[in-house]
Amino acid sequence: MKNKILWVSFLAVSAAMVLPGAETINGAGATFPAPIYQKWFQEFHKLHPDAQINYQSIGSGGGIRQLTEGTVDFGASDMPMTDEQIKAITKYHVLHFPTVMGGVVPTYNLPGVSDLKFSGETLADIFMGKIKKWNDPALKKDNPGVNLPNDDITVVHRSDGSGTTFVWTDYLSKVSPAWKSKVGANTSVNWPVGLGGKGNEGVAGLVKQTPSSIGYVELIYAAQNKMGYGSVKNSAGTFVKADYNSVTEAAAGAAKDMPADFRVSITNAPGKTAYPISTFTWLLIPDKIDNAAKKKTIVDFLQWMLTNGQGLAQGMDYAPLPKPVVAKEEKQIALIK
C-alpha cells in the first residue's frame, strides 16, 4: 500500500516535471549578474505564470560553450563573444543584449590612509611590479598631502577565471601600452606579480589580512560589504569614485559610438563624471528561435527587462542602463525571428 502511494506520487512528480517542459527556457553563463537574473526570472514568472526561465551561473566561458553546443536556449557573459566564437555557431546569429552594468574598484589595506587616488598608468605599473613602494613618486603626485609609508606593495589578484579580471585587465591595456604588450586582457592572465585569491571574497580577504596590499573587486561586492576603495582617474582627467551613477555615466559616454551589435568595451569611456573601469554584462540570444512559445517568452522578457526590470537593478546594487542604450536595444529585439 505504502509502495503504491510512493509510486503514484513518483509518477505524478515526474509528469509535473515533464509536462511544462515545453515552456521551460534554460540559460547559463556569467556569475556576476546571476543574483539579478534570478530575481528578474522570478518576478517575470509571477507576471507570466506559464513562462519558466531557469538560469545556471556557471561562468561566462561555460555559458558561451553551452550556447555553442546547443544545450541551452540562451547564454550570458561578462565579456562579448569574439568573431570566431560567433562564427562557430552556424545555425543562427547571436545577438548581444546588455542587461545591467558593473564596475571594478581598487581596494587596499594601508592603516590610517583612506580615499587614495590612482591614475590608470600607476595602477598598471603597480600590477606589473614596476612600482614597488607605497611612497613611489607617481603615487605621491596623485595624492598630495597624504602620508604614504615606505612599505612594499603586495599585489592581490583573482586566481579564478572571471569577468572581473577581464574588465580590470581590459582597462589597464587601454591606459598602459606596456601592459597591453606584456600582459593583455582576458578572464585569466599571466600576472607579472602578486598573490591570487579565489573569488571576490578571496581577494578581499587577502587584502584585509595583508598589510600594505592592493587588489581589485567588483563594485557590488565592495558596496555590500562596506569596503573602502580608491578613486580612479578617468579619460577626462578627473578622479572619480565608483558608484551607480558614475558607472551608468560611462555607458552614456560610450553610447554615441556604440556599435550596432553592442559588443563594446566601455572601460576608459569619455565623459567628465564617467567611472573608467565599468562594463556591461550581456545576454546572448539566438536571432532565430524555432519554438514559437519560447520565442514569445524570450521577446516578452527582454521587453520587460529593459523597462520595468531596470527599476529593480539599483535595489540590488547593479547600475541600470542609460536611456539611449535601452532605446537601441529595443530596436534589436525586432531582429529575433
Partner: protein, 324 residues
C-alpha cells in the same frame, strides 16, 4: 557427524547439489570479476577521455608542455612545470609532516594507550578524516594564514633564514601553508589505517619478543612495526593520493602564482587548483584542452609517484629479509 551421514541425500541428488554449488562458484567468480574489471574500465576510460580532449594542446605544445614555465591565456602559451612542481612539493611537505606524526600516533593508540583512551581517540580521528576539505580550507584561511604570516614565517626567517628555502616576504600563503593544511588532512588516514595494521599483528609476536627480554619499546619498534609495515605503507599511499589531488583547501592558501620558487614561503600553484580555478571561464580550444592535459599530467604524476613508492617498498622488503 554420524547423523549427518545417515540423512544425506541419495548419490544422484548429492551430485546435483555439488554441481549447483560449483555453478554458484562460477557465478560468484563472474560477478566479482565484473566488479573488479570496472576499476580497469573506468581507469582506461578516464585516460582515453583526457587524451582525446587534450588533442589541441598536445598538438600545439608536444612534450614542451611538461617543461614549459609560462602559463599565459592571453598569448595562448601554456606550460605545466610550475604546477607539477607545486603539486609534488606541497605533497612532499605534507607527507614529511604527517608520516612521523601519523605513524607515531598510531603506535601510541595501538600499543601503549589504555583501551578507553585509544577508542575515544580513534573515534575522533575517523571524524577528522571525514571532514570535507573545504571546511579545513576555511580553517586554514581564517586562522592558519594570519598565524603563519605574523609568527611562524618571521620566526623561520630570523632563525634559519640563511637557507634559500626560507627567504622572501612572509605573505602567510604559499607552499609551506599549503603543505601544512595537507598534512592536517592526510594524517587521520595514516593514523586510522596504521593503527588497524598494528592491532592485526598477532599477540604471539609481542609475547615472543618480550620473552626474549625485549623492552616494550624494542618489541614495538623492532617486531610489531616491521610486521605491520605493509599496512602502514598502504596508509601513506592513500595519504599521498589525497595530497596530490586536493583542490579546494590548497587553492585557498597557496597564493595561486604559476611560477617556480625555491623559497617555501613563496606563493605557488598546484595542478588540481588551476583546473578548478580556470576551467569555468576558459574560452578557446587550446586553453581548454591545455587544462584537460593538466589533468592527464596529474594522472601521470600520481602514477609515477606511486610506482616509485612501490619500488621503494620492494627495495626495503629485500633489505629486511636479508637482515632476517
Amino acid at each position: 557427524m554420524g547423523t549427518a551421514v545417515a540423512t544425506a541425500p541419495p548419490p544422484s541428488q548429492a551430485r546435483k547439489l555439488t554441481k549447483f554449488w560449483r555453478d554458484g562458484d562460477q557465478i560468484t567468480h563472474l560477478v566479482t570479476f565484473i566488479f573488479a574489471a570496472s576499476v580497469f574500465v573506468i581507469t582506461v576510460w578516464l585516460v582515453y577521455e583526457l587524451w582525446i580532449h587534450s588533442a589541441a594542446s598536445r598538438a600545439k605544445f608536444g612534450f614542451g608542455f611538461l617543461t614549459g614555465t609560462t602559463w599565459d591565456p592571453v598569448a595562448v602559451q601554456f606550460g605545466a612545470l610550475p604546477f607539477i612542481y607545486g603539486t609534488v612539493l606541497t605533497s612532499f611537505l605534507a607527507l614529511l609532516i604527517s608520516v612521523p606524526l601519523g605513524v607515531g600516533a598510531a603506535i601510541f593508540l595501538a600499543e601503549l594507550a589504555p583501551p578507553k583512551l585509544s577508542n575515544a581517540c580513534t573515534f575522533l580521528v575517523e571524524l577528522l578524516a571525514a571532514v570535507p576539505s573545504v571546511i579545513l580550507g576555511l580553517l586554514a584561511w581564517l586562522s592558519m594564514v594570519p598565524i603563519m604570516r605574523q609568527y611562524i614565517e618571521p620566526f623561520l626567517k630570523h632563525t634559519i633564514g640563511f637557507l634559500p628555502l626560507f627567504t622572501g616576504p612572509a605573505y602567510g600563503v604559499g607552499y609551506l601553508t599549503a603543505g601544512l593544511i595537507l598534512a592536517i588532512m592526510t594524517f587521520p588516514f595514516i593514523i586510522s589505517i596504521s593503527r588497524e595494521a598494528l592491532l592485526a599483528v598477532p599477540r604471539e609476536q609481542r609475547e615472543a619478543a618480550l620473552a626474549l627480554g625485549a623492552t616494550k619499546w624494542e618489541s614495538t619498534w623492532q617486531v610489531v612495526v616491521p610486521f605491520a609495515r605493509l599496512g602502514i605503507i598502504g596508509s601513506i599511499f592513500l595519504a599521498l593520493a589525497r595530497a596530490l589531488g586536493e583542490t579546494m583547501a590548497v587553492t585557498m592558501v597557496i597564493g595561486n602564482d604559476p611560477a617556480i620558487h625555491t623559497s617555501l614561503l613563496s606563493p605557488g600553484y598546484t595542478i588540481a587548483a588551476v583546473i578548478a580555478n580556470e576551467f569555468t571561464e576558459a574560452t578557446g580550444d587550446v586553453y581548454l584542452s591545455a587544462l584537460v592535459e593538466l589533468g592527464l599530467v596529474l594522472f601521470g604524476v600520481t602514477m609515477v609517484l606511486n610506482g616509485a613508492a612501490q619500488l621503494l617498498i620492494i627495495a626495503t622488503t629485500r633489505k629486511g629479509s636479508k637482515r632476517d
